[in-house]
Symmetry: C2
């Protein structure tokens, strides 16, 4: 009889996930370093490097690389897709941190771009990072023309008014709304604001390989994963330690903003996150054991401490 609870088993998969996440981060960092304009080109180039290099978990890069590995797409194209999605993520943070948006002066323990330089440089560095993402994807080095065009189309949709920007607009509107958002609204907001880019990253390898079935399965995985991540973020915003998070915590609560925790309570949010993580894992079933690294990301999403 097997008396040990499953959670006491040695977490080989978790250790492997941590190793692969770290390797993806190092690899995309080197790729970005080579793809970004040199700091000597001026303050906008410096600010682009400040925003895009040296920070973050690189979850989106990891998803792009693992998606490509799973679908048999070449590593070079995958690395370029990973760099492109990290450029868009970095641009969104630079613009979100602006005084007219979330007005944040620190990010990953460092001054934000408009604090270190000025607002004009932050607007322009964000704009240029978005353009660079498409430049990276569209270049012949990324892969066959069909894949490059598909990647550009998917990233543009994920980043635009019906994706990330649309989610940010909903978030800003919620700050002055008469009542906090409900569960359905906050779920939709997050699916756009952070989910769309996570979905692009997870699908990018399938687009590179031209595998439409894999793209569908990975989109379902990513949608569940993105929500699991966001719910866990809301939990950490309440429970977390500022030094470990590298940014202000308890901020959402102080702002009277609806979160998954304010709507579901801490235990309810934990259950919802776990449910989303399991849905993400279930979406990977068609890939079998080969999808273990992506399944590891779903576990990480709900168990991480920062």
């Amino acid at each position: 009889m097997n008396g040990a609870p499953a959670s006491a088993a040695p977490r080989v998969a978790d250790a492997d996930f941590a190793r692969r996440l770290g390797a993806a981060a190092a690899e995309v960092e080197a790729a970005l370093d080579a793809l970004l304009p040199a700091a000597a080109e001026g303050p906008v180039a410096e600010a682009m490097r400040w925003a895009a290099l040296g920070g973050g978990k690189r979850l989106r890069a990891f998803l792009a690389l693992e998606s490509a590995a799973l679908c048999g797409a070449p590593r070079q194209g995958a690395l370029r897709a990973a760099a492109a999605v990290e450029c868009v993520h970095a641009y969104s943070l630079v613009h979100d941190d602006l005084p007219c948006m979330d007005d944040d002066d620190m990010r990953r323990g460092r001054p934000t771009v408009h604090v270190k330089w000025d607002e004009a440089t932050a607007v322009l560095a964000g704009d240029a990072l978005q353009a660079l993402a498409f430049e990276i994807l569209a270049a012949p080095e990324t892969g066959p023309a069909e894949a490059r065009a598909a990647l550009c189309a998917a990233l543009a949709q994920a980043a635009g008014a019906r994706g990330m920007v649309g989610g940010q607009a909903l978030d800003i509107a919620a700050q002055t709304a008469p009542a906090p958002l409900g569960l359905e609204e906050i779920t939709r907001l997050q699916a756009l604001k952070t989910g769309a880019l996570i979905r692009f990253a997870a699908v990018s390898g399938a687009l590179l390989a031209g595998d439409a079935d894999a793209a569908r399965a990975l989109a379902a995985y990513a949608d569940a994963l993105g929500l699991a991540f966001q719910i866990r973020d809301d939990i950490l915003d309440v429970e977390g330690d500022a030094a470990q998070m590298g940014k202000r915590v308890g901020k959402d609560d102080a702002a009277g903003k609806a979160t998954f925790v304010s709507l579901l309570g801490l235990d309810g949010a934990r259950r919802a996150a776990e449910e989303r993580a399991r849905a993400a894992e279930a979406a990977l079933a068609p890939f079998g054991a080969a999808a273990a690294p992506l399944a590891g990301a779903a576990r990480f999403a709900v168990e991480r401490r920062s």
Copy 2:
């Protein structure tokens, strides 16, 4: 003996140019109306429509349509390239007008986006217009995958840190520089800030048709045309009438900013503009009479009153 000076001949080409420019404007307006998100989608969508519809000469759209006609590329793809370049142009104006940039409250006789809505909406509408441009180019309706990828790559380069954004950054740096810019610096600034996007528009038809020789000739044409346009803008800024221009005039002079007029004098600037217009016309030689509409744009660039 032919006693009449050439300039007294009836200006059939000019009338034809004006007609074609107006037709291109109407056609791209309809295309943008269909491609932009509906106003009902929210304030960012409304602001995108406000910024991209109902204004401007639509020179870039005209260049894209005529470039495609000259190179034998299908009209549908050309119209999408025209819409995409107008989206990027519109986004650049929205961000340039922000308080932290040029701080303009009027554009084409109407309040700018951050005045009509707010700064956050202006940042987001600009961001979404850039994404939409790539979404339009990358969609299958634009043409073969090879052409779509080439268009995305060219637009990304034209819009990014080594193109339009780079030019805007130089412009902002010049405002706090100890001395006004010299002729070489202002030429480089303008070649980036406005020239790069004009070049993309003029080359887009050749990219759609996959004609590398035409792309080279059209790039040379566009580089000369862009400078002719900018020099004429500087002349109109001194001579123009605010009502006709639809924006503040005499502004550059008041700001102690170097312009082609401050560097060359009015007569010198007129000569330089004429020289660039002739260079643009000369670059069209390989195309023969078929390039008459594009030659008309070069004439228009230096003879327009607004």
